[in-house]
């Protein structure tokens, strides 16, 4: 009799534990989805502002053309064209870096109407990408970790969901390459 009670109790506790783990995974997946949505919004915003900067006539046509084509490639990738989103987004970062990396870039736009606003908007959009990507990758790490647990794997608590991938891009406008001039960059991102 006592043995039976113990067995029932153990099974019940196990059930509670498993459902708690499954609930946790569920919450992690929800957090992941929200983080991904925020990242997508940030990327769309960044490419939109870059495209606006390219077409506003403030910059010379060569820089405009570079930014426009990089922003366009990023947008195509965002809407699911081509293979992979990370490379076009990194390319957009590099194009922005090359555009802003020229010594005296900010000074050259000083006094031009609307320039300061656009640059600040770009700065904030790029910073948003930096933050959103950080939080998304955090969520990916947590989810991957939870799903790697033996219990989760044994009981397939995640169901058929595929293992989430990290989103790896260059997102800092202050690069390490030769184009890096620091001072004239939008003051950005860690």
């Amino acid at each position: 009799m006592i043995a039976a009670i113990v067995v029932v109790a153990v099974v019940a506790m196990l059930g509670v534990y498993v459902s708690w783990r499954a609930g946790r995974l569920d919450r992690l997946h929800a957090r992941l989805e929200a983080a991904r949505a925020a990242l997508d919004v940030a990327l769309v915003r960044r490419s939109s502002v870059a495209l606006e900067l390219a077409s506003c006539g403030l910059l010379d046509p060569a820089t405009s053309l570079l930014l426009a084509s990089a922003a366009h490639d990023a947008r195509s990738a965002q809407s699911g064209e081509g293979n992979g989103q990370e490379l076009p987004e990194s390319d957009l970062t590099r194009a922005l870096r090359a555009a802003f990396g020229q010594p005296g870039f900010r000074a050259s736009l000083n006094g031009t109407e609307g320039a300061e606003e656009l640059l600040m908007e770009l700065e904030s959009a790029a910073h948003q990408v930096f933050l959103a990507r950080k939080f998304y990758n955090d969520a990916v790490a947590a989810t991957r970790d939870a799903r790697r647990r033996p219990l989760a794997r044994l009981l397939r608590l995640a169901g058929g969901a595929s293992l989430p991938e990290f989103f790896e891009i260059e997102d800092s406008l202050v690069g390490t390459g030769e184009a890096d001039q620091g001072a004239d960059m939008p003051h950005l991102t860690g």
Partner: protein
């Protein structure tokens, strides 16, 4: 005439556009014109006296690869200064749709502008996004030149209007005379190839198969190959017994390139497509090499329907082998083709091509004053 040429790509890295501009500039100078070229280059880079450096080109992703380009307001102000000091009758920009100096020159210049389009690029949606940016700068171009039919189609599709077709030039005198490489062509006969081995459209694998067919019956025959590509990988596909009869030089200097053309009995151009003009073919003709080439439209035209070089059905290794064998066996046939090639290539010699370009300059110059800097 005072002529300003604008090069979009960095001068210190060799490339088709840079070579074109160099050939054109030197031919125009020889014809007695004053020429200045502005090009991305370091200020301390060794440059010909007619080249003005516009500062270092920056590597930046463009069109799916990383290109070295000069853009931005600093480059624009260099171009502006060059225009002011030059006082040109005409400015001739190359590859104006690339985001570099040429586009900047269209932007800051006011006056007669001629543009040459070199590459054929498929119309893409990215171009669509950039069109308004390009349009306002390119509208200022009063004379357009395309180096090939494909480049011309690109231009017409993207920007409307039309363009004059003036093919690429070759500097015949640079190729005419050279000593063969030591030991070449040798008594057993030699075939030659120049170009990327790993680029399928250059047709190197077709030549390898043809060489295998010929080499079995001709124990002394050798193959001389110059150009970029993995030599071991290319050789792995051939019979081991033949490998030491294929000599791979890899990438060669300009001087050695000329010697390669003079080192072979038969020069092979087995391309399967993509060559709008075939600068390699024109160089081989300038060197007076007997040529066997694919029956591509462009090659057929350059080789005067087979009078200046044997043509074989594109991609057919057996026919290539048969044509090469005919030439190897008949020295008088080779001599005839060599003379015909030297004569035919005159039409593509830079002094001749430069005169065609000058006619375009003359057509646009009376319409306006000298090139000035546009008010910003």
């Amino acid at each position: 005439m005072k002529i300003g040429l604008v090069c979009p790509y960095t001068w210190d890295i060799p490339g088709g556009v840079q070579e074109h501009i160099m050939g054109l500039a030197e031919a125009l100078i020889d014809l007695g014109h004053q020429v200045s070229v502005i090009s991305p280059a370091d200020d301390d880079a060794p440059l010909p006296p007619y080249v003005v450096p516009a500062g270092r080109a920056v590597p930046v992703p463009y069109n799916g690869s990383v290109a070295r380009l000069a853009f931005g307001f600093l480059s624009a102000s260099r171009v502006r200064r060059w225009l002011k000091e030059g006082g040109f009758d005409v400015v001739h920009v190359h590859e104006p749709a690339a985001p570099s100096l040429s586009l900047l020159a269209c932007w800051v210049a006011d006056g007669p502008i001629v543009a040459t389009v070199h590459t054929a690029i498929p119309r893409s949606r990215a171009m669509h996004a950039a069109e308004p940016i390009l349009q306002s700068a390119l509208e200022k171009i009063s004379g357009r030149i395309a180096v090939s039919e494909a480049a011309r189609t690109t231009l017409v599709e993207h920007f409307g209007g039309d363009a004059v077709l003036i093919p690429n030039g070759v500097s015949v005198r640079k190729f005419e005379k050279a000593d063969p490489l030591p030991g070449w062509p040798g008594s057993g006969g030699a075939l030659g190839f120049l170009g990327r081995m790993d680029e399928p459209r250059k047709g190197f694998s077709i030549l390898l198969r043809a060489f295998e067919m010929l080499a079995l019956e001709r124990p002394g025959l050798r193959l001389l190959v110059a150009g970029h590509g993995d030599a071991d990988e290319a050789l792995a596909k051939t019979r081991p017994a033949l490998r030491d009869r294929i000599v791979m030089l890899g990438q060669v200097s300009d001087a050695d390139k000329v010697r390669v053309y003079h080192s072979v009995d038969v020069f092979c151009a087995p391309n399967t497509g993509g060559e709008s003009f075939g600068i390699v073919l024109a160089e081989a003709m300038a060197a007076g090499a007997p040529i066997v080439a694919s029956d591509l439209d462009a090659f057929r035209k350059v080789l005067r329907r087979g009078q200046a070089g044997e043509l074989f059905p594109t991609g057919n290794a057996a026919e290539l082998a048969a044509a090469a064998a005919r030439l190897l066996d008949q020295p008088e046939l080779r001599a005839g083709l060599s003379a015909a090639a030297s004569a035919a290539v005159r039409a593509y010699d830079w002094p001749v091509v430069a005169r065609d370009v000058l006619r375009v300059y003359e057509a646009v110059v009376p319409a306006a004053d000298r090139v000035a800097v546009a008010p910003q």
